[in-house]
Symmetry: C2
Subunit: 232 residues, 2 copies
């Protein structure tokens, strides 16, 4: 009896680089509005606007662009020009068009596991954008199931994992976010592996954790070895 | 042996009013820009922008808002004011906050069918917004499965219907859009019922059709009677 039968991966910042696109775009917004507002003020205000809009927009690039435009309007008292707003929209489009860049070690790791484990992908965000990224990642065929969620909470994980026809305790969730990947998957009864990404969005921050069903790996390439170590 | 075991419903403009929200918002945009551009010119340009953006934004309110802003920037040579762009964003937020209004006869019809048929909901659009609408519709518990798609094509229907453990020929898809609900469901091997809505988005227009597996009902309330008529 194996302790793990299904390995479930998060997408953004677990399989492919993601958050840096947001951070680069935000840096460009700071530059664009430099004559109106100082960088730290903009960062703080944008975070407030994103938080305020989350219940209406959900996650994803389109909502981020709308929040950047709102932030620009509010911080410049509406004096931001049409041309500048056009630049913000173009930046957003560049994010949506950006090639999917796999994180180091991902392709080999997934390829190594596919013969011994059932692999699923459980990601969060904009349906249309996520589907495009999965298709462009070149990994789609390695996953027996792909689930795109609007929010990664315990109810969502329970629903997704229950449909796999395996005890949830034999599912291992692998992701970079303690808040979205690790904690709710543990609460749903799965195991979890935390593989931190080098940057974390402020709204994803969570306290470090100590739990008997979670381990932290520095690089995803360590995952096959860790899974091997669980086989009696 | 019943000819229909699963009834699959579209959401927008089949179960609840939807397109009128877009049309009302577009009318407000015409009003907002009346000093810059005539209504028909704006309508045509917005449709072009939406078509151009569809492959990046997909369907839904957030992409519509971004397309409205782009349209306003382009048609005013960037002279649209920050305040006016703020009003466009506010209009979009009102769309997202708008109560879900069921179409006449929907609640009774779905309630009548739930004991005799397996009911599923197959809708298209923004994941976050659609989930919110389904929850607010009050109908969620009547459906054994809800599928939110980024595009309703034959491959998507085949995947969704195949997972139902019933021959696809015993699935009946009910929707207002010939292009998105009727034709691809027929191509996937299902039956289809077309219940037209009073307005159709230009990008959803399709030729009227003549097909032995589709009927057209004027009102959704006629659906239970039609299903009864199929029982030998």
């Amino acid at each position: 009896m194996r302790a793990v039968e299904v390995v479930a991966f998060d997408g953004d910042d677990t399989l492919w680089h993601h958050e840096h696109l947001y951070q680069d775009t935000q840096a460009a917004l700071r530059e664009l509005l430099v004559r109106h507002v100082e960088g730290p003020v903009l960062d703080a205000h944008l975070l407030d606007v994103e938080r305020r809009n989350l219940s209406l927009f959900g996650y994803g690039v389109k909502g981020f662009v709308l929040s950047m435009i709102e932030t620009a309007l509010e911080l410049t008292n509406g004096e931001v020009t049409g041309g500048e707003i056009g630049q913000i929209i173009e930046r957003g489009k560049s994010m949506l068009r950006h090639p999917v860049e796999l994180i180091d070690g991902v392709a080999d790791t997934v390829q190594q596991l596919v013969d011994d484990y059932r692999l699923v992908l459980v990601t969060k965000g904009d349906l249309f954008d996520q589907e495009g990224k999965i298709a462009r990642s070149g990994l789609a065929e390695l996953f027996e199931h792909v689930e795109i969620l609007s929010e990664k909470d315990v109810a969502a994980y329970r629903r997704v994992f229950s449909a796999l026809d395996v005890p949830i305790s034999k599912v291992m969730m692998v992701g970079n976010s303690v808040r979205s990947d690790v904690l709710p998957a543990l609460d749903a009864g799965a195991q979890a592996v935390h593989v931190p990404y080098r940057v974390t969005w402020d709204l994803e921050h969570a306290e470090p954790l100590d739990h008997h069903r979670v381990v932290r790996l520095e690089r995803i390439a360590e995952l096959p070895g860790y899974l091997d170590s669980l086989i009696p």
